[in-house]
């Protein structure tokens, strides 16, 4: 049984190896290996993509990937970055292109960031190493003195109502 399947497995393996030829691209993050900021701040993530092959590569797209380490979940980049993906188009042989993402630290926590590059006709994307992002919590209590107003006004109103009630009860003589 196993001997009968061997030729099939070999053919499949050869075909897979042909289709999965790695892209001659190298993606690397140039920013420090660990970045940090306070939630609400913007940080800049710099990377580059290099065509290390001998032929130009068409339709290259790079995109940022963020994973919430605590939640073990990928992060929806809505709100985090205006440009999640960068379409590069053609990258000539030996060419190096800089990549820059402005990242808004929306929520405090620990994240990993990586940059991925894909091109038309390539089955395997190229992925950079991981950079660690730390978004420190923003202590926002009582910003702009909202707390005294948010607590004080309803309390003042209740006090005012009770005063009015007292005045009205005194004014209307009981039967």
């Amino acid at each position: 049984m196993r001997r009968n399947l061997l030729p099939l497995v070999l053919v499949a393996g050869i075909l897979y190896a042909q289709a999965s030829t790695p892209l001659p691209l190298v993606v690397s993050i140039r920013s420090e290996r660990a970045l940090s900021g306070v939630a609400g701040e913007y940080i800049t993530l710099e990377a580059e993509v290099v065509n290390v092959g001998t032929q130009p590569i068409n339709s290259v797209t790079t995109y940022l990937s963020l994973v919430d380490v605590g939640a073990r979940m990928p992060v929806d980049l809505e709100d985090w970055s205006a440009e999640k993906g960068l379409f590069i188009g053609t990258i000539t042989a030996g060419e190096t292109l800089p990549l820059v993402w402005k990242v808004h630290l929306i929520r405090s926590g620990d994240y990993t960031a990586s940059v991925v590059a894909e091109a038309d006709g390539a089955d395997l994307p190229v992925v950079s190493r991981v950079t660690y992002l730390k978004a420190l919590p923003k202590r926002n209590l009582n910003p702009g003195n909202v707390l005294p107003v948010a607590l004080g006004e309803p309390i003042l109103l209740v006090f005012g109502f009770l005063l009015l009630r007292f005045w009205r009860t005194r004014k209307l003589r009981p039967d």
Binding site: K171, L172, R173, P174, D175
Partner: protein, 238 residues
């Protein structure tokens, strides 16, 4: 003060139902006019048309020589205890009368309110909330409101409803005094003995039409009956 209330061929329909059908009425100044009729005869609709809060489909109405559509003038000469007796329960009796005195542009409102409360026997309860009043007290307050502008013509739709015998007597005495002072009283009631006792002229309507009008003696002759109850039954039994 002749013909202070005059209605000529007034009619009012609600959908297909004719509530008042070509009614003619003439009430002389200074009269104590009784207005009788069975339930659904069109009494309240007639009073509402006479007092200007309901427009007749046809016919003309004059009050004190003015067309009833001239609401500003009509309102200044009439006082009404209507069938609907809503009050602002959160107000005190004093506040309630003061509010209406203000609407009527009464000069010394505080004095007028005190006098009105005394007239209807509510002087000691004027400061309490209307919501705590009994039905009879509310009736008295409604009467006080009707008198707030010292009206020349007073329309009353069941004014003693809900009053105890003493209350009924008090209201009757007050109305008598007003009538003796020259106020024309248009009095609608189900209490026939009250009407017989108070009214100088009595009109009976049935199915929106005038069945008879005259003094008690004239109605007695017309129906060959002694008692007002028998007269009423004779005129309203179809």
């Amino acid at each position: 003060m002749a013909g202070v209330i005059s209605a000529r061929a007034i009619s009012k329909s609600y959908g297909d139902r004719k509530a008042v059908d070509g009614l003619d009425l003439a009430v002389e100044g200074g009269a104590f006019f009784g207005f009788l009729g069975p339930n659904g005869a069109g009494k309240t609709t007639t009073i509402r048309m006479l007092t200007g809060v309901l427009r007749p489909d046809s016919g003309t109405i004059t009050i004190d020589g003015h067309d009833s559509r001239d609401r500003q003038h009509i309102a200044s000469v009439i006082g009404v205890v209507p069938e609907s007796r809503g009050f602002y329960d959160w107000m005190s009796g004093e506040e309630y009368l003061d509010f209406f005195a203000a609407l009527y542009r009464i000069g010394d409102r505080a004095r007028a309110v005190r006098q009105l409360l005394a007239d209807v026997g509510l002087a000691d309860r004027g400061g309490t909330a209307i919501g705590t009043y009994s039905r009879g007290m509310k009736q008295r307050l409604g009467l006080a409101r009707a008198l707030v502008n010292s009206p020349r013509v007073l329309f009353l739709d069941e004014p003693t409803l809900g009053l105890d015998p003493q209350g009924q007597e008090d209201v009757q005495q007050l109305l008598k005094r007003l009538n003796e002072g020259g106020v024309t009283v248009f009095y609608s009631s189900h209490l026939l003995h009250e009407v017989a006792h108070l009214c100088s002229v009595i009109a009976v309507i049935n199915r929106g039409r005038l069945a008879a009008v005259g003094t008690l003696a004239e109605l007695q002759r017309q129906t060959d009956s002694e008692d007002l109850r028998d007269i009423f039954m004779a005129l309203t039994n179809d």
